[in-house]
């Protein structure tokens, strides 16, 4: 399948089994304007629907990774972002893999400054790696804005105190990649920084060797678990587990291992994975 090439604010491409979603407004430190917000929804969906894409990597062009909403556009042309304000109010944002229920594994590769709304992409990725030049900061309260979605999600992924500290100190506080590694916000720091994309591609290709179906169901089970108490999450997870017993990959995996060859996995069948993982409203539908 060939990917669209007419994005204005993003570069979207495939390298082998890896789909790349690259923020491409380097002169604006990759801030999100109305166009980028629309294009992100399209790009995540396009990559997730492409059967040749087994893993998605998200990074930025230029020195910054992502710096949140484009405040210049916000100041000059409020109308352009009215639709986003409406979505924010209803918690119906549609620009991260989690918002869009992306079932393909997502690696966030933080190449530089990740500020404010840029933290959405760290909070909502499955795996996060960073170059040694990455910096994490949340300036919201320093400019009179509330920090909520990104930090709520981050506080579930890592220790609470550093996230609260970052939210309250605003632009005066920066988390280095080394500290982010200690805290388990990222699992790998790439040094020198220009090795980041190669490291991300290599990690993605490694992950692409695993069963797409098993990964999708696992990903769904773990994200859904964030919505529930432990026992309910385990009960739901147990059904997810048993739900794929009998899938051909379950026999192919051990067989290939015994025969010392690479397994040949079935293409991902979304019906088999189940409905959205974001909320539990669809529980009845599944049963």
């Amino acid at each position: 399948m060939s990917l669209r090439t007419d994005y204005e604010t993003l570069v979207v491409e495939r390298r082998g089994p890896v789909g790349w979603l690259i923020f491409n407004r380097p002169d604006r430190r990759n801030a999100m304007d109305a166009t980028m917000l629309d294009e992100l929804e399209q790009a995540w969906t396009e990559l997730d629907d492409d059967p040749d894409v087994r893993v998605i990597v998200n990074t930025g062009n230029g020195p910054a990774f992502q710096t949140g909403l484009d405040v210049v556009q916000l100041a000059k042309n409020k109308e352009a972002l009215r639709e986003q304000s409406r979505r924010t109010k209803r918690a119906e944002l549609m620009f991260t893999p989690w918002h869009l229920d992306v079932i393909t594994p997502v690696i966030c590769a933080v190449n530089g400054v990740c500020a404010g709304g840029g933290l959405h992409f760290v909070a909502d990725a499955d795996i996060v790696i960073a170059s040694s030049s990455a910096r994490f900061t949340d300036p919201h309260v320093s400019v009179g804005q509330v920090s909520a979605f990104e930090t709520i999600a981050l506080a579930r992924r890592a220790e609470f105190e550093p996230i609260m500290r970052m939210a309250l100190l605003g632009r005066s506080e920066t988390i280095t990649p080394e500290r982010a590694y200690q805290l388990g916000i990222v699992s790998q720091v790439v040094d020198p920084p220009d090795g980041l994309r190669d490291a991300a591609q290599a990690l993605a290709e490694t992950i692409a060797r695993n069963s797409p179906t098993a990964m999708a169901v696992s990903k769904r089970a773990l994200w859904r678990a964030l919505e529930m108490g432990l026992t309910d999450a385990c009960r739901t997870g147990a059904r997810d587990l048993a739900g794929v017993w009998g899938h051909p990959d379950q026999e192919e995996g051990p067989l290939a291992f015994a025969e010392r060859r690479d397994p040949v996995w079935k293409a991902l069948d979304r019906e088999r994975v189940g409905p959205r993982y974001r909320s539990t409203d669809d529980e009845g539908e599944r049963a």
Binding site: N210, L230, A238, G253
Partner: protein, 274 residues
């Protein structure tokens, strides 16, 4: 009073002082779990929890692995496969960890060597986890076409999400060291050299055994119970556990023995009634 433990094949049960030991005992199979071993776990946890002489339980493995999940040889060879577990799994009616079995006593998992795949059930469901310096953690499920679910769901409540998700998605192609597991808070102590693991676990368990069994049981209920609820609800439920100890003899004995500079004499743990 001395309790006789049931005769088991795949597990060893022992008591050393106040410490009950549950030892995975299929070293030649890297302690992989057969259907029979799974049933023995259910019995073993109950036996140790019911022994009034046991104050703390340590779980470890014989040989170079702590545990390596389900015995795939059995699954692959007998024509039944995972289907044997379908009903119990669909109903989440499983009984092989201390948490599944409602064990009231503190449980220490002492990871010796390999800890792979389903082994994370006993990391996720223990109260305290320590590991030998040569322990290695990885989750090969998705590399052999299997889903990662319950054990990782437990782990993401106890350590950063990203590390668990990475382990789940990378599968057999990456191993986590004891050092990284320690940094991430998956384990609280690394024992080096590895041969000292059991001595250190015994010592840690004996230290814990000096505390009030009733207070520890209520604390354990409060903290595990909190995993089921939002913060305010968890605190409300925790308040009940707190108040449930008021008037208990240990609540007077503790401060008194402290003032008198002597070891407290706690009320023996009450065997669970279910």
């Amino acid at each position: 009073m001395s309790v006789t433990y049931p005769e088991l094949e795949a597990l060893k049960l022992e008591r050393r002082g106040p410490v009950g030991w549950l030892i995975n005992n299929r070293p030649d199979k890297l302690n992989a779990m057969t259907g029979a071993m799974r049933e023995e776990f259910a019995v073993a946890w109950k036996a140790l929890d019911a022994d009034p002489e046991v104050r703390v339980i340590v779980h470890t493995g014989e040989g170079r692995a702590f545990q390596t999940g389900v015995d795939v040889e059995e699954i692959a060879s007998d024509g039944v496969g995972m289907e044997r577990y379908r009903e119990s799994m669909e109903n989440f009616d499983i009984h092989f960890t201390a948490w599944h079995q409602g064990v009231a006593k503190p449980v220490i998992t002492a990871v010796n060597g390999l800890c792979a795949g389903g082994a994370f059930h006993w990391v996720a469901d223990a109260d305290i986890v320590i590991a030998a310096s040569d322990a290695q953690f990885f989750d090969p499920h998705v590399s052999v076409g299997q889903v990662v679910s319950i054990e990782a769901i437990g782990l993401i409540r106890k350590m950063p999400f990203e590390a668990v998700m990475r382990m789940a998605l990378v599968g057999r192609f990456e191993r986590m060291s004891a050092q990284r597991a320690y940094e991430l808070g998956m384990i609280s102590q690394i024992v080096d050299p590895p041969e000292k693991l059991r001595d250190v676990a015994q010592e840690l368990a004996e230290t814990i055994a000096r505390n009030s069994p009733a207070a520890m049981a209520a604390t354990k209920r409060a903290l595990w119970g909190a995993q089921e609820a939002g913060l305010t609800d968890a605190c409300k439920a925790g308040a009940k556990e707190l108040v449930s100890m008021w008037g208990h003899p240990d609540q007077e004995e503790g401060p008194r023995s402290f003032a008198e500079k002597r070891e407290p004499r706690w009320v023996d743990p009450v065997a669970p009634t279910d």
